[in-house]
Subunit: 323 residues, 2 copies
């Protein structure tokens, strides 16, 4: 997304110039490390664009954008421990490169440094509202992650519960990122509610699309093995949607397949066949496209500007992505 480059570069520059102390090295080195491993910088870009969308210079929202990105990286350090992941963005995860104690503590500290960024906001900005919005986002992310973990040991998860989970886990911080841009611009409650809704729609749509791409994407473009979620027995929205459309026999067959580790390739293909046959695949596509359309509708409420054009382009590009 070429048009986003200047924004991403602005964020990367600020992140590389953060004045994190040198010592204790075991506390701050892991933070510098994870922030240097890249990532799409998608959330802080939304903060800057939302500030512009609401008629202010995006620079005003820069401390909030940094807070959002640092918070996101803190959640990655702790999530990777919970998921026992060895690598992220092609780099060793913090608990692998150091150890679990370092990962717990440097994560806590990165959370603290994220909050600290808000202290750098212009005094004219409503600090209390900004802090509240950020905390609401973090709370939603924690609740979503807890639900996700609870789902792992449950066999009766409903599609509606899944939506609630991704609303928190994915939607929470995206929605906060947008609203924080709005608060930096001095927006009133009406426009903040629009930004909140936009963020939730985008978050849910994006995550459902991710589940969908796992089944249909060209694996050379997607960068992951097609059907990876199926092999892992993940409760994606497609699986849950299919299960709500299956008869008893099919459910028993499906649960039987999901217990096989590793799952044979032919079972993966059969499950994809079931996803197609039940209409779960098609339905999921319609669902996520609907969420993207809602997000685009939310944008309509804002006055025309280059920032609005950028956000529209971003949403349309994401909506059409095939990887």
């Amino acid at each position: 997304m070429e048009f986003l480059k200047p924004i991403i570069q602005r964020i990367d520059k600020e992140l590389s110039q953060l004045d994190l102390p040198q010592n204790p090295a075991s506390l701050y080195d892991p933070q510098r490390y994870i922030l240097s491993t890249g990532g799409k910088r998608f959330r802080p870009a939304l903060t800057l664009m939302a500030c512009g969308l609401c008629g202010e210079d995006p620079e005003k929202a820069l401390p909030a954008a940094l807070a959002v990105e640092m918070l996101h990286n803190f959640t990655l350090i702790h999530d990777d421990m919970m998921d026992q992941a060895d690598s992220r963005r092609s780099f060793a995860t913090v608990h692998k490169k150091w150890d679990t104690s370092v990962a717990i503590l440097s994560g806590d500290s990165l959370y603290t440094e994220a909050l600290w960024q808000l202290q750098n906001l212009d005094p004219a900005i409503d600090f209390r509202a900004m802090n509240r919005c950020f905390l609401e986002g973090i709370r939603a992310v924690c609740e979503g992650q807890a639900l996700d973990m609870e789902f792992e040991t449950r066999n009766d998860v409903r599609l509606g519960e899944y939506i609630t989970m991704i609303q928190g886990k994915t939607g929470g911080l995206i929605s906060a990122a947008l609203q924080m841009g709005g608060i930096a611009a001095g927006c009133g409650a009406d426009r903040l509610a629009k930004l909140h809704h936009l963020g939730m729609s985008l978050g849910i749509g994006f995550q459902m699309q991710d589940d969908w791409l796992d089944v249909v994407a060209d694996q050379t473009k997607f960068g992951k093995q097609t059907g990876g979620d199926i092999r892992e027995g993940k409760k994606t929205c497609i699986l849950l949607s299919a299960m709500e459309r299956c008869n008893k026999e099919e459910i028993i067959w499906l649960q039987n397949c999901l217990e096989k580790k590793p799952m044979p390739d032919e079972d993966v293909l059969d499950i994809i066949g079931l996803f197609e046959r039940t209409g779960a695949l098609e339905e999921t596509k319609n669902e996520f496209l609907g969420y993207y359309r809602q997000a685009l509708d939310d944008l309509d409420a804002f006055d025309p500007s280059s920032h609005k054009e950028d956000l529209t382009r971003l949403l349309e590009t994401l909506m059409m992505r095939d990887y």
Copy 2:
């Protein structure tokens, strides 16, 4: 400490009435659990007393006091994981009662809920200053904990570095607790600086005294085995002070002893003998008494009040404790 009872009861009542959600249960049950296991409620009591000391109704500082106590309990959840501790306050630790993923995430969430308490402060209170002071305290605690962990694998820790470590790990939050009471009362920079210094002196004195009591206390009163730190090979201020006074031969003997797991009782007694002979024990006592006296001196700057009397009594009671 009978005179503190009304304050502690006030805090306990508020903590038991926190409106933490019921779900996700894996997120909020561990938080309710650790907050219900008691603890001295020493830090939040300081916040309320400091607010009274500065001439305001202590009730004004209640949200800040709750934030401090909740933050403290969050650090316990994560510290117990790093220390691989099985129990705390005679209850199973969170990662033992649930698991490590639950402990990481419910800790993160308790940190978030602690920050959230500040949103309940009276709008007339300087929210931004309160938030800043709290974050400074948390940052100090994280840095102190990181140093403490780094010390475990080092054989060349100096006494001065140890003081820096406990300034952060113990002094950071005590100092923030007092200052937050002052901020709730609308104190200026001068009195806040006094409260900061008071908190640091108290934190350092209290921790050095803890190290000292580990060696000299009557184990039936102290509730821990005498010499427990020696057996664990902990780098306490007495050990570091003794090592700075030993000759080469004694250091080699000492390091040899400390490597024995489990350490024979006669070695523990010999090490205590060395602590006495080198004067490290006496010196540590003088040091911590000096810190308590500094804390009492800091109190002098404040106008007479019942809160000042309570704080003086608290400091004197702690100073004389033998357990």
